[in-house]
C-alpha cells in the first residue's frame, strides 16, 4: 500500500498548558534526529500534531521508527489527494479496496473542512463520500458510535488528507522534558528496561556501570556499552560512566561480614553515583530494582541501601512482574544482549547466603571500620571514564582494548 504522509499525534503533553510549546519542540527535535537517515521526508508542524511527508520513503518502516519516539501517542498513514470532491471519493474507494472488508464491517466517514472555502461542509462531506463508498462496498454497515473503520477526511487548502488506521505509539513525555537522572546499568535484563521507562517519562538519563576488571571480562564491559547503544536509539545519544570498582569491592571481602557484602557494595555504588550526579546536574537515581527479586531488593535491603544517598531513588520496575519486564526488554530490543552470560561485578564474591534483612547500624559500623573506604570511593570517582554512545558508535573502539588489530576484521565478512 502506498501512502503520502504520516500523521503523528501528541498525547498528554498537549494538556500541559504553558509547557506545551516546549514539549512539542522537544519531540520535534527528537523526530528530526530519528528521521535523519531519510533525507527525502519533510516534517510539517501543526497545533497538537505533526505531519511527515514521505516523498517515496516506506510508510511501514517510518511508522515503526516514529512510534518509538517518546511523546507520540499514535501514527496514522495518510493519503493525500487534490481538493476536489470527485478526487476525494475516488481516493476513498481506492484506499478501502486494499483492505479486507468482511461482511458487516462497521464504518463511518468523519470529514473536517479546515479550509472553509471548500464548497461542501463537513456534514455534507460525510454524506457525499459515505454514499458512494457504501454502494461500492456492500459489506460495510454504517455505525456512528465506535465503527471498526472510521475514514477521516481533512479538507485543507493544499490537499485533502484521508486516513483510517491508527497505530499506537509509545506515548509518554518527550525526551528530557522532565529533567535528568543517573541510571545504574548492570548488564542484566531489568536495568535497561528501567532506563527505557524513565526515558519514556521524559527523563534524560546518564548510565553508570561498575566493572571489576580483571575479575569481570572485557566482554562484560562491551555488553554494557552495547546495551547503552541500543538504548541510545531512543535518545539519540547517552552518556555512559564506566566506574572501576575492583578496589572498592575487594575492600569488602574478608571482613568477616561476607553476608553483608552486597549491601555494602550497593551502598558504595550509590555514593559514587551521587557524586557523579552532582557533577552532571542530575536530580535522581534510577535503578532496575524489582521488589523481592534478589536479596538486595527486599524491602529491608532497599531501605538500608537507599539511605546511602540523599537523592531520590526512582524504581520504575519495583512492582512489575518479571515476565512483563522480560517482554518489555524483548520489545525494546535489549533482551538478547542482556542474557549474554558474562559475569558482572554484582555476581562476583557473592556470599552463600546474602542477607535479606540487613541491619543499618551494623552496616554503618562495618563501613566506619573500613578506614580506606572513603579514599577508595574518591579514587573510583576520579578514575571513572565517561563516553558518549550513539546508535552508530563503534563499540570496539570505546571499550579500550589494548591496541592490537581488531578481532572482527570487516574484510573477512
Amino acid at each position: 500500500m502506498t501512502y503520502d504522509m504520516l500523521l503523528l499525534r501528541f498525547g498528554e503533553i498537549t494538556l500541559k498548558g504553558r509547557n506545551r510549546n516546549r514539549f512539542e519542540k522537544t519531540v520535534y527535535t527528537h523526530i528530526k534526529a530519528v528521521l535523519k537517515p531519510y533525507p527525502k521526508v519533510h516534517i510539517i508542524r501543526e497545533y497538537g500534531r505533526l505531519y511527515v511527508e514521505l516523498n517515496g520513503e516506506s510508510a511501514e518502516e517510518l511508522t515503526q521508527v516514529l512510534r518509538k519516539v517518546f511523546g507520540i501517542v499514535s501514527v496514522s498513514p495518510v493519503r493525500v489527494c487534490p481538493v476536489d470532491l470527485d478526487a476525494i471519493i475516488e481516493t476513498a474507494l481506492d484506499f478501502l479496496s486494499e483492505r479486507e472488508l468482511p461482511e458487516g464491517t462497521t464504518f463511518k466517514v468523519n470529514a473536517r473542512r479546515v479550509w472553509k472555502a471548500f464548497p461542501h461542509s463537513s456534514q455534507e462531506m460525510n454524506h457525499l463520500v459515505g454514499s458512494p463508498v457504501l454502494r461500492a462496498y456492500p459489506n460495510l454497515k454504517v455505525q456512528v458510535k465506535q465503527p471498526e473503520i472510521e475514514l477521516r477526511i481533512e479538507v485543507r487548502e493544499n490537499g485533502a488528507y484521508l486516513y483510517y488506521e491508527t497505530i499506537p505509539g509509545v506515548a509518554g513525555f518527550p525526551l528530557g522534558s522532565n529533567g535528568k537522572a543517573m541510571l545504574l546499568l548492570s548488564g542484566g535484563i531489568d536495568s535497561p528496561v528501567a532506563a527505557w521507562a524513565a526515558m519514556r517519562r521524559g527523563l534524560e538519563i546518564e548510565c553508570v556501570h561498575f566493572y571489576s576488571y580483571p575479575y569481570t571480562s572485557q566482554l562484560a564491559k562491551e555488553k554494557v556499552i552495547e546495551l547503552t547503544r541500543i538504548l541510545s536509539r531512543y535518545a539519540g545519544r547517552i552518556k555512559l560512566h564506566l566506574v572501576p570498582f575492583t578496589e572498592v569491592q575487594t575492600s569488602f571481602v574478608g571482613n568477616g561480614q561476607d553476608n553483608m557484602i552486597i549491601t555494602l557494595m550497593r551502598r558504595a555504588m550509590l555514593r559514587i553515583t551521587s557524586a557523579l550526579a552532582e557533577r552532571s546536574g542530575a536530580l535522581a537515581i534510577v535503578t532496575g530494582d524489582n521488589l523481592g527479586q534478589v536479596a538486595s531488593q527486599t524491602l529491608a535491603s532497599m531501605n538500608v541501601i537507599g539511605r546511602a544517598t540523599e537523592l531520590p531513588i526512582l524504581r520504575p520496575l519495583v512492582t512489575m512482574d518479571k515476565n512483563d519486564i522480560v517482554n518489555q526488554a524483548i520489545e525494546i530490543g535489549t533482551y538478547e544482549t542482556s542474557i549474554l552470560p558474562y559475569e558482572d561485578c554484582c555476581t562476583l564474591f557473592v556470599p552463600k547466603s546474602p542477607t535479606t534483612n540487613p541491619n543499618l547500624h551494623v552496616v554503618e559500623r562495618v563501613e566506619a571500620s573500613l578506614e580506606r573506604l572513603p579514599e577508595l570511593i574518591e579514587a573510583a570517582i576520579a578514575a571513572t571514564e565517561t563516553v558518549i554512545i550513539k546508535p552508530d558508535t563503534d563499540i570496539s573502539r570505546i571499550s579500550g582494548k589494548e591496541s592490537r588489530e581488531p578481532v572482527v576484521q570487516e574484510e573477512w565478512f
Binding site: 571480562s217 572485557q218 566482554l219 572482527v408 573477512w412
Partner: protein, 386 residues
C-alpha cells in the same frame, strides 16, 4: 576442463579461502572458553551469525550452524518430528526430495510416523491441491525443497506455505533451500518458512558447514546431545573459520543473486534449446525451472558412458545427484515425474556456476554433439524431445 557440476559442489571463492586461512591461524580459541582467545573466537562467531542472518532477513538467534545440508535436513525433520510428537505423528513431503530429506522420512516411517508423499507433475512441481488435501489436524511438518537438485524444478513455495498454514497453522513448513540460495530470490517471510536448510559449499563457501534457519518460537529435539552450543540445538565445538567463510559467501551469494540469475538464464536458454535439438535427447528440465540446473537423458545409453565421453572432450558433467550417482539405479526423481525406466536410468545433469559464459555453452553443445554422434546406434528413439 570446464566444470559443469556446480549443483554437486562449487569452487570456494578465493576470498573465502584466504579469509579462512587467516582466521584459522589467528583465532583458534574455543568460543566457549572464558579466556581472551575464547572471547575473540566467540566474537567472530557472533559476527558470522549476524551476517548469515542478514542475508536471510532473519534474526541471529534463528541461525543454527550445522555441518551442512545433510545434517540440517536431518535436524529439521527428525528434530521437529520428535519435538512435536504430542501434536501428532503425520508428516508430508514428496518423493523428489534430496536423499537426506527422503531417507529421514523413511526412518521416521520405520519408527511409527505416517508420511504422505504428495505427487508432482511432469515438470516436477508439487500438486498443491493434493498437498492441501493431505494436511490434517495431526500434521506436524511439511518438507518441500526449493529447487530440485536433479532437474532444477522450482517449487511454488509461497503458494505451498500459504496452503499449509491455511489448513493448519500449527503445521511447520521446512524448506530444503540448498540448491536455491544465491540462484533464485529467497524470502523466508513470504514463504512462511519455519525451517530452512542451507549448505555453504553450494554457494562458493567452504565444505562442512551450513545453516539451519529455525524460526523464533520453533523448538527442535536436538539430534546431537552434549554442550549447549547453538542454543542447545547442536552440541560440538563451533568451526569458527568455516563460519566466517560461510558468512562471507552468503553475503556475496545474496548480493550476486540477481546478476547470476540473469546470466545463467541466458546460458540456460541457449543450452536448453540446442541440446534438445540434438537427435535422441529427452529433455527432463523446462524453462520454468531454475536457470542453473538442467537434466536430460539418452535412453538406452548408460549415463556413465556420456559422462566419460564428455570428460574426454574437456567437459565435467554429472549423473543424477552426486549423493546417489554412484548407484546404478533409476532416478527416483525422474520416475516420480512420470518418466519411464529407460529415461530415468540415463539422466545427465549439467549445472552452472557464476563464471560460465555463453562461449562455454557453445563448447558444451559441440562436445555433446560429438559424444552422442558416436553413440547414436545405441540411443533408443523416444520421439519426444520437448
Amino acid at each position: 576442463m570446464i566444470y559443469w557440476d556446480h549443483a554437486g559442489t562449487t569452487p570456494p571463492d578465493d576470498d573465502v579461502v584466504s579469509t579462512m586461512a587467516e582466521v584459522m591461524k589467528k583465532h583458534y580459541g574455543n568460543p566457549s572458553a572464558l579466556h581472551q582467545y575464547g572471547e575473540e573466537a566467540a566474537k567472530l562467531l557472533k559476527k558470522a551469525r549476524e551476517v548469515c542472518a542478514a542475508a536471510l532477513e532473519a534474526e541471529p538467534s534463528e541461525i543454527v550452524l550445522t555441518s551442512g545440508a545433510t545434517e540440517g535436513n536431518n535436524m529439521a525433520i527428525k528434530g521437529a518430528a520428535l519435538q512435536y510428537k504430542s501434536r501428532g505423528k503425520h508428516l508430508i513431503t514428496t518423493r523428489t526430495e534430496h536423499p537426506s530429506v527422503y531417507e529421514s522420512f523413511r526412518q521416521l516411517e520405520q519408527l511409527g510416523w505416517e508420511v504422505t508423499y504428495v505427487p508432482v507433475d511432469a515438470n516436477g512441481r508439487v500438486d498443491v491441491q493434493a498437498l492441501a488435501d493431505a494436511v490434517r489436524k495431526d500434521t506436524v511438518l511439511v518438507s518441500i525443497m526449493h529447487v530440485n537438485n536433479e532437474t532444477g524444478a522450482v517449487q511454488p513455495l509461497m503458494e505451498i506455505g500459504q496452503t499449509v498454514k491455511q489448513r493448519n497453522h500449527r503445521t511447520l513448513f521446512h524448506i530444503d533451500g540448498v540448491q536455491g540460495f544465491g540462484k533464485l530470490e529467497v524470502s523466508l517471510k513470504n514463504w512462511q518458512a519455519d525451517l530452512y536448510t542451507l549448505s555453504a559449499h553450494k554457494f562458493n563457501g567452504p565444505r562442512g558447514i551450513g545453516v539451519l534457519y529455525v524460526r523464533r518460537g520453533v523448538e527442535l529435539f536436538p539430534l546431537m546431545s552434549g554442550g549447549q552450543q547453538e542454543n542447545g540445538h547442536r552440541a560440538g565445538t563451533e568451526n569458527v573459520a568455516a563460519a566466517v567463510g560461510m558468512a562471507k559467501a552468503m553475503r556475496l551469494g545474496r548480493e550476486r543473486q540477481p546478476e547470476f540469475y540473469r546470466q545463467a538464464s541466458l546460458i540456460r536458454n541457449k543450452l536448453l534449446q540446442e541440446i534438445a535439438d540434438i537427435p535422441g535427447t529427452v529433455m527432463n528440465s523446462s524453462r520454468e525451472g531454475a536457470p542453473h540446473i538442467m537434466n536430460f537423458s539418452y535412453p538406452g545409453v548408460k549415463p556413465e558412458v556420456i559422462v566419460h565421453a564428455l570428460e574426454e572432450l574437456g567437459m565435467l558433467v554429472s549423473t543424477k545427484s552426486a549423493c546417489s550417482s554412484k548407484l546404478s539405479e533409476p532416478s527416483r526423481v525422474l520416475l516420480e515425474m512420470g518418466k519411464d525406466m529407460s529415461i530415468a536410468s540415463s539422466g545427465i545433469r549439467i549445472s552452472l556456476g557464476r563464471h560460465h559464459r555463453l562461449e562455454d555453452a557453445e563448447r558444451l553443445i559441440d562436445a555433446l554433439k560429438t559424444a552422442t554422434g558416436k553413440l547414436r546406434p545405441f540411443i533408443e528413439r523416444k520421439g519426444t524431445t520437448n
